[in-house]
């Protein structure tokens, strides 16, 4: 009986400590101008299917390890402070989703973010924002909401968009799971 209570207390403490350290990582990014607070996304979209938060230390390590094989990527990673991704799968456009995108966009504009691309329709909402300070991009934010999926991406750090494009080209990953099709096409070519 006593052991069970002690275990519960210990489990609670460990869980608390882990969540505190995760929150600490998120908190450390909040001070950067490129950070975006998307609000309570799970209130509208439910639990995320993909949730990524890569902090400065891991980015630095990935950068230093990629230096020999991909110097451009290494250069980019070393200048990034964090990358955050939240992906939600939905069966229909959740109520409040479009309002969330619009209100977040308004907040970002007030904070000095530049709206680069806007797709505004009932079926689809896409926003791409950039935080530009002294001709330097310090953050990119992408919000995409459609009937089946909602994606929120926040790249924090000093970004050279041209560099970003090249690095993205080098990553061979297909989030739609169409890699096999591409492989077949490549083979046919």
């Amino acid at each position: 009986m006593k052991t069970s209570v002690f275990r519960k207390i210990l489990t609670g403490c460990v869980t608390l400590l882990i969540s505190v350290s995760a929150m600490a990582q998120e908190d450390s990014l909040k001070d950067f101008p490129g950070y975006v607070d998307f609000g309570q996304l799970s209130d509208i979209f439910g639990e995320p299917t993909v949730q990524i938060s890569v902090g400065e230390s891991l980015l630095g390590l990935v950068g230093s390890l990629s230096a020999s094989e991909d110097p451009e990527a290494a250069e980019l990673f070393n200048r990034l402070n964090g990358v955050r991704v939240n992906v939600f799968e939905t069966t229909s456009m959740p109520s409040g989703a479009i309002d969330l995108v619009k209100s977040t966009s308004a907040q970002l504009s007030e904070l000095g973010w530049e709206s680069v691309v806007t797709v505004n329709s009932q079926e689809e909402q896409v926003r791409i924002f950039m935080m530009i300070n002294n001709d330097r991009v310090e953050g990119i934010t992408v919000m995409t909401v459609e009937e089946t999926e909602a994606v929120f991406v926040n790249v924090i750090g000093s970004i050279n968009p041209e560099e970003l494009g090249k690095v993205m080209n080098n990553f061979d990953i297909d989030i739609n799971g169409d890699n096999d099709d591409h492989d077949d096409e490549d083979a046919a070519e």
């Binding site: 890569v54 980015l59 990358v83």
Partner: protein, 143 residues
């Protein structure tokens, strides 16, 4: 008691009376006097909670707090990421950039469908100055 015993008792009393009172050494006297001061009854630390002497288990939370404090200190230390962590971060970044690319593809296709062939190039060129992945997405789509 026999007469002999009585005689012996009287002799013993007589001899004892002849003995002088032995004085205790000064150090022993001091030590004996210190006893009531040193062993004064202790007041309870938490009289409202434990009016009597503290139960032994009171120290248990204190002992439990020691490993917990150590755990906190260990967890607060910057952890060296393992090679698996780094590989996972690499994959996470690839996924993140794939989603960025997807957004570029989506906006690219919107521009294409709204503006058509002629105007598309002038807008696309302007846009790709800021977000080159839109340019790439458009190229992929066109090819």
């Amino acid at each position: 008691m026999t007469i002999d015993d009585k005689t012996l008792d009287a002799q013993m009393d007589h001899l004892l009376n002849q003995l002088e009172v032995e004085k205790a050494p000064a150090s022993l006297t001091r030590r004996l006097k210190r006893i009531p001061r040193e062993h004064r009854e202790k007041k309870p630390l938490l009289p409202w909670l434990f009016p009597g002497p503290l139960p032994k288990w009171v120290m248990a939370p204190a002992f439990a707090a020691v490993p917990l404090a150590l755990l906190v200190i260990v967890m607060m230390q910057p952890r060296q990421p393992s090679p698996q962590d780094v590989e996972q971060a690499r994959l996470d970044l690839a996924v993140a950039f794939a989603y960025l690319d997807k957004a570029g593809l989506r906006t690219g296709s919107q521009i294409q469908s709204v503006l058509g062939g002629e105007l598309r190039h002038s807008v696309k060129d302007k846009l790709s100055e800021h977000i080159p992945f839109t340019e790439q997405s458009l190229q992929e789509e066109t090819t």
